[in-house]
Symmetry: C2
Subunit: 271 residues, 2 copies
Amino acid sequence: FEFNVMVVGSAGLGKSTLVNTIFKSKVSRRQPEEDYHTPSTVEIKTISHVIEEKGILLKLSVTDTPGFGDQVDNTNCWQPIMRHVNEQYEKYLNEEISIKRRKRIPDTRVHCCIYFIPPSGHSLRLVDIEVMKRLVEIVNVIPVIAKSDSLTLEERERFKATIQQQLIEHNIRVYPDLENLDVDDETERQRNLKLKERLPFAIVGSSTTHQVGSKAVLGRKAGWGVIEVENDAHCEFNHLRNMIIRTNLQDLKEVTAQVHYELYRHRRLET
Amino acid sequence: FEFNVMVVGSAGLGKSTLVNTIFKSKVSRRQPEEDYHTPSTVEIKTISHVIEEKGILLKLSVTDTPGFGDQVDNTNCWQPIMRHVNEQYEKYLNEEISIKRRKRIPDTRVHCCIYFIPPSGHSLRLVDIEVMKRLVEIVNVIPVIAKSDSLTLEERERFKATIQQQLIEHNIRVYPDLENLDVDDETERQRNLKLKERLPFAIVGSSTTHQVGSKAVLGRKAGWGVIEVENDAHCEFNHLRNMIIRTNLQDLKEVTAQVHYELYRHRRLET
Ligand SMILES: Nc1nc2c(ncn2[C@@H]2O[C@H](COP(=O)(O)OP(=O)(O)O)[C@@H](O)[C@H]2O)c(=O)[nH]1
Ligand SMILES: Nc1nc2c(ncn2[C@@H]2O[C@H](COP(=O)(O)OP(=O)(O)O)[C@@H](O)[C@H]2O)c(=O)[nH]1
């Protein structure tokens, strides 16, 4: 049972920290202590791992994109990312149409792309708009507000409202795309509508634990207090994890296979 | 008595908040509540104000550079900024060489450029290196780590060490440039050496006050605590303000007049 996640965003927004936090293990490529060198081009690094989540064995692979958006000129920085996503569709397609194909085709298609928005408090950057506009056409994109502990609650809600407005203005259809949803299931539809209103989730990541009172909590310790990652009054990390690993895991795989992959296949076989 | 400051950095790093905090008044152009639109080119906006600091009347002007570094392609984004700095030298020069010149030439030259570094925790971005490399040649540049409340103390010190190393690697001579210092005054030299070791200052800005115990403090209130701007255990705002407004105010003006302006004048009159 495979699940493939891709994280996209500028350096230093907490991508590898979040992946380690969600999947409670050292999935990501880099220990934060290691020397950081800005790559001069966008690299694609995938790491796979088997984890257990509520009794189910999950083969999880995480693709990171170091160097994305970190150049002086970021024109076309989205191309290596789109190429990676399409290459997985191509691999799957080649298996699917080959005569001697395997019973179960290994699935390396990207089921979910988490896009990290810098916590500026103002609005989406021009590069965020350009990239998301293109990615939503080929993969499920879930935007998040990175390092949201640097925003107060009011700033956070104002920022979220601005982002939601900009996504509508530019017609960027992030996941869940209500048009793809199965209309027969009204409760499912209502649940996703509610979810959509809260997106993008304001997240905080951390792989260290701190003592708060009698409890050991996952969090970040600063001179003025401890930010608790799994405390819903502090951030929306729990909402994001539940959405990806529990409530929407199946749907993310289905939309990838039935909508994005089918679109790719149709375009490829037509030409 | 004039003092001219310029703030440079990407949108949302807290530039206008810091200016309001340092100069304790609404000097900056924008109230954070106003709608933020990313300008499509780099604009130069200067606002002047008379403030009183320890009994001295100071005509302070602050130049902000909205749109800097916010495009997809930021090639040459430093040009409008360099042009503004050189235009002030040109204005001063024209006055100085004109026959009927005024007794006191109005001084609009930029005495200090505060450069905002995003708190990624990793390293300077390529665009930061490209811009600072060029600005230090013509103006006093004081780099700061913006929104440093998003870094823990260890992250902050590690980040600072990396930045200091990169500044040396790329031979970016930020202010105070020890080569320009008056060698006769040993205490002054020692003081500036100590200052240089602490740069870039990790700052937090805020124009709101909160109640902490019995005191009203300037700070940012989050769910897990209040970050106090003027508390040296929380950030280095005090160090920055003291340096700019008190200890190094005269020197910033002198280095601008005697080093940067003289270099400009020499180059201009030669050609
Ligand atoms: N304030 C804050 N810092 C974070 C958060 N997540 C990670 N960091 C820190 O930010 C720095 C960069 O994180 P990293 O995961 O390496 O970012 P990446 O380059 O996007 O993979 C590290 O010093 C982390 O400890 C967060 O949610 N809030
Ligand atoms: N965490 C944090 N947020 C800040 C700080 N200074 C300003 N902000 C917030 O960041 C947002 C952008 O600030 P602003 O001063 O408008 O940034 P500018 O675009 O660089 O001028 C606002 O919501 C501010 O309240 C800071 O030191 N730390």
